[in-house]
Symmetry: C2
Subunit: 232 residues, 2 copies
């Protein structure tokens, strides 16, 4: 564990309000590791041993069933994943793999459970964090059920464009096939949909996205804070 990692972690909403002594103890049992791209960090069904924190790089959370697989979320710095499985001491519902060279910190789940039982501030932070995760998945599920694929793609682009504001362009954070799977469609279908959306003010060339007509694109996506998350 690098000393420089600690302040960043300490500032995460999850760890921000806990007692310093508890924070130190929690991170004492933790260890950091660097992984190349494409490494499977956890496998769905395995018992939950560690809370993972992404310091650098990017991690894909994905689910498998039979021969099929789909990406459920992308975690980028600084973010945590599989908090819920650690808390319930239950099997992971999702697998995780690095999409790029990544630096990950792993906090043992038993330490986690021990600390939030004696640090009320940490308990409250955990509650807030979990509630946020829950709401994120609900939004994702709502998007899948209420929007068709064209609308989902448009909404994805609008969301990332807002993050890049005031620019009217941004770079795709991950490969298109991962985005396609996240949006619940095949790569072929995403490719065609992107081409189709050129008529609605979207230009995608390789990894580079430019929006030439925000209003037209937003008219397709009909962004909604209850689906896409709060404005920021």
């Amino acid at each position: 564990m690098r000393p420089s990692d600690l302040p960043e972690i300490r500032h995460l909403p999850l760890f921000r309000d806990m007692l310093q002594s508890n924070f130190e103890q929690l991170l004492q049992g933790a260890y950091a590791q660097n992984f190349p791209a494409g490494v499977e960090l956890i496998r769905q069904g395995d018992p939950a041993d560690f809370l993972h924190i992404v310091i650098e790089g990017a991690v894909e959370l994905f689910a498998e069933w039979g021969e099929g697989a789909c990406t459920m979320a992308i975690v980028q710095p600084i973010g945590t994943f599989i908090l819920a499985a650690c808390i319930k001491d239950a099997p992971y519902l999702m697998s995780a793999r690095t999409l790029e060279k990544s630096r990950i910190i792993m906090v043992p789940a038993p330490d986690l459970r021990a600390v939030f039982r004696r640090d009320p501030e940490f308990a409250v932070s955990t509650i807030t964090e979990l509630a946020g995760c829950y709401r994120a998945v609900v939004r994702h599920a709502k998007g899948l059920k209420l929007r068709n694929s064209r609308e989902r793609v448009a909404a994805y682009m609008v969301k990332h464009l807002r993050r890049a504001a005031p620019h009217m362009a941004f770079g795709l954070p991950v490969e298109k096939r991962v985005i396609a799977s996240y949006l619940g469609m095949t790569p072929e279908n995403l490719s065609r949909t992107l081409r189709q959306l050129e008529a609605d003010g979207l230009r995608v060339s390789g990894t580079h996205v430019t929006v030439t007509d925000y209003d037209r694109l937003a008219a397709v996506a009909r962004p909604d804070p209850l689906l896409d998350g709060p404005d920021p």
Copy 2:
């Protein structure tokens, strides 16, 4: 509030471990109400005021976007809903309506937030409850993305059949159109799919479901604890 309601609520996992004095205080600010079927209890986007507890009846959680709507979950006794919105003091992501004549208890959200800050046991219960909700939505989203509609219907039936074990029959808990929407399909499509599944050991007549060949049906559904929940 009926005196007879209290013991049932007290035995819920969410309230089981808290101090009696805190429980009493929490429920003191609460009130119970009886609703006929079809009443909209909460509307998505409204600020979260109350944690709701279903004592009798059934409540549908649903989401709307534009002209479309879909049901996200069914809550039956004894169950709670919209805990996450109360905790985050954020707008509801889902609307709720009674499907039958229902008895609902409403606990003010500020009381909730106040109590788990001073009762560590309640905080832990809240964390566990939320983690459970989170995992339930993840499973639902996984099902939507990984299974096709025929598989989702088969899995739904297998899941409810297991609950009815050792019987090989059960009654549908809600209308078929609600089930269809929950499974992410149209009523017409559900109707056709049920008919198609007769070739795989399923018999549905009105609200009554009989499974004539469990193995065949399970071969279609391929039940998996990571999608359908733990065995019970």
